[in-house]
């Protein structure tokens, strides 16, 4: 006998050992269930992270823009006739008022991971007879790379961005027939163009983006676009992507700027991600339910089988509370042990997956990883489930009439 444990623990362990086959069966059931939950959860969340990373890594989570120009007709002024039609004004490329201060303040927000200024506008890329319209983005490389990791997307050349350099998308380079080292003339919509050297080609993962991308240094873009010293937008990356909209609202409230989060600009994608999240949760709930029913069923059978022993214990002075605890401990123990084995199974499955489901270079198609939170969470839930599903049988056992139990 485990020497000095309280009665409840001794009895629970004896009963579990006595019904060895049952205990093994239920532990096996819980293990498989927990293994499935952990593996699926890890795989699903890795997949989601993967999708989000791929989609969101080429765009900031929030873009801060100057307030929209609005038409302000002069009405009801004495001697002025009201215009019957109010036309919306065109939106000029404008600088954000006091962008340096706003950048500092935004970057200091705890929810914000990184913020970078950008001077962007339309321009033409000209090489000989070929002309393509491009989105000219003037960036501060250090800051911007923390938002869109261009170094990961470089196809050829380097990421050097001096005053006379430009980095273009691969499709644009192909259209214009330029390679790294060639000269390219960038002409803004209004004003003088300038010849820049192509220092790198980037693949942003989308043909449309690759056809229009042209990155230059911030001050180069400022002079080309007539935004001397200005920034047309501030790009922001947040720590919790799902909080992007809240952060955007907070920034708008604080600065009066337009703040567009990815949730609003990619609403369809966000809806899909959300649906996926709900589906994941549903899967977990149902598997947990199946485990709970399994544990409860085994414990109920065990109470019925043990009713004679329960009666004997009651006749010898065991209180209802003691009987209750004996079965609660059994349930929790089954859940805990099962979930530990389940975590091992899941870890093995993940290792196997990352080893077998790989591309030709041996890199896993989907790196699932071992998120300790998922493991700990599943183990905790399974143990609690075991405990909860033991409540009913335990109460049944505790309420057994000793006389009936002994005769039965």
């Amino acid at each position: 006998m485990s020497p000095w444990l309280p009665f409840e623990w001794i009895a629970a362990s004896r009963f579990l050992r006595e019904g060895r086959l049952q205990s093994i069966a239920i532990v096996l059931g819980v293990s498989i269930g927990v293994g499935v939950i952990v593996f699926m959860s890890a795989a699903l969340s890795a997949q989601m992270t993967n999708i989000i990373r791929r989609v969101l890594s080429s765009q900031p989570h929030i873009v801060l823009l100057p307030p929209k120009d609005v038409a302000r007709p002069l009405r009801d002024e004495p001697g002025v006739a009201a215009a019957a039609i109010v036309q919306k004004p065109f939106q000029r490329v404008r600088s954000i008022d006091q962008w340096q201060r706003i950048l500092r303040e935004t970057a200091a927000m705890p929810a914000v991971a990184a913020a970078a200024p950008m001077a962007a506008g339309s321009a033409l890329a000209v090489r000989g007879e070929a002309t393509r319209s491009v989105t000219l983005s003037g960036i501060e490389p250090e800051a911007y790379f923390r938002i869109v990791p261009l170094p990961e997307k470089i196809a050829s050349g380097s990421l050097r961005l001096g005053a006379e350099d430009v980095i273009v998308g691969t499709e644009l380079a192909a259209d214009l027939g330029v390679v790294v080292g060639d000269k390219l003339r960038i002409v803004p919509a209004s004003g003088q163009g300038t010849a820049l050297t192509v220092t790198g080609l980037v693949d942003l993962g989308s043909k449309g983006a690759n056809q229009r991308a042209a990155y230059v240094a911030l001050h180069t873009a400022q002079s080309l676009l007539g935004l001397t010293g200005g920034a047309s937008s501030i790009e922001v990356t947040v720590r919790d992507i799902y909080a992007a909209e809240d952060v955007a609202l907070a920034i708008t409230a604080g600065s009066g700027l337009q703040a567009e989060s990815w949730i609003r600009t990619n609403s369809q994608f966000f809806t899909a991600i959300n649906a996926q999240r709900v589906a994941n949760t549903a899967i977990r709930v149902f598997v947990a339910l199946a485990i709970a029913l399994g544990i409860a069923a085994v414990l109920i059978v065990s109470v019925v089988q043990k009713s004679r022993e329960i009666g004997i214990l009651r006749a010898m002075g065991a209180s209802q509370g003691q009987i209750l605890r004996v079965f609660l401990i059994q349930g929790a123990a089954l859940g805990l042990v099962g979930s530990l084995f389940g975590c091992v199974i899941a870890a093995a499955a993940i290792a196997l997956w990352e080893r077998l489901v790989v591309d030709s270079a041996g890199v896993p198609l989907l790196a699932i990883g071992y998120d300790p939170l998922i493991f700990a969470g599943a183990a905790l839930i399974a143990s609690l489930t075991g405990l909860a599903s033991a409540v009913l049988p335990a109460m049944r056992g505790a309420r057994l009439d000793p006389v009936v139990a002994i005769r039965g």
Binding site: W4, F7, R308, A318, V403
Partner: protein, 235 residues
């Protein structure tokens, strides 16, 4: 009676009370048992003697009447108080030994003490060991109850019944499933306990030979006591 261990007054027990199927099995039983008495309770099957024993053992509740164990009223107590009274004052020996098969002989003996105190201690182990030795099973202490023979199991049950030093020992046909030699052995054990510790014994039995060795015989027929006499057997 001075040292009164058990007093029953007007005890009735009906099953399915309040329904058309109501059947009363005990019709007003009065019984007193003094300290150190050794009393046999006999009666045909269905006479209500097991029901009476279960009520006296506080396993079952009477429909009417009073029940005192060592002067303490047991009718109307709540579940917790009844459990405590049962655990401390009354020892049980059943027809089937009713040991816990998953526990060793020693553990079965100190189980009532363990239930009372919550966790095992050296003292209860020592006492259980002594009790096992007193029933001649000291060397089987670590054997699982399910691995003992019928006679051995019943002797362990006797040792267990004595663990709490009860004032009253109830036995419901403790020898019913034993061969004659084992039955006499268990009976002698109970008598020795009775003599040495002054424990009152109420023994339900069909065995006339054993009953004849008791000092008092109560007969019960159809839920009524029909005879209550002292026997000459020496204690």
């Amino acid at each position: 009676m001075a040292d009164e261990v058990l007093r029953i007054e007007g005890l009735r027990k009906a099953y399915n009370a309040g329904t058309p199927l109501e059947t009363e099995v005990l019709h007003g039983i009065d019984l007193r048992l003094g300290k150190g008495e050794f009393c046999a309770l006999m009666g045909p099957s269905g006479s209500g003697k097991s029901t009476l024993l279960n009520i006296v053992g506080l396993l079952d509740r009477p429909s009417a009447g009073q029940l005192y164990v060592e002067g303490e009223g047991a009718v109307g107590l709540d579940e917790r108080a009844i459990t405590r009274l049962r655990g401390r004052r009354i020892g049980f020996i059943f027809q089937y030994h009713h040991l816990l098969p998953a526990f060793t002989a020693l553990e079965n003996v100190f189980m009532p003490m363990l239930l009372e105190r919550g966790r095992p201690d050296a003292e209860m182990r020592k006492r259980a060991q002594q009790l096992l030795e007193s029933v001649g099973l000291g060397q089987f202490r670590d054997r699982l109850a399910s691995q003992l023979s019928g006679g051995q199991q019943q002797r362990v049950a006797v040792a267990r019944a004595l663990a709490m030093r009860p004032a009253l020992l109830l036995a419901d046909e403790p020898t019913g499933n034993l061969d004659t030699a084992s039955a006499q052995g268990v009976f002698d054990l109970m008598r020795a306990v009775n003599r040495e510790h002054g424990t009152a014994v109420l023994l339900v039995t069909h065995n006339h030979e054993l009953a004849a060795q008791c000092r008092r015989l109560v007969e019960i027929v159809d839920g009524r006591i029909t005879a209550d006499r002292a026997l000459g057997a020496a204690g």
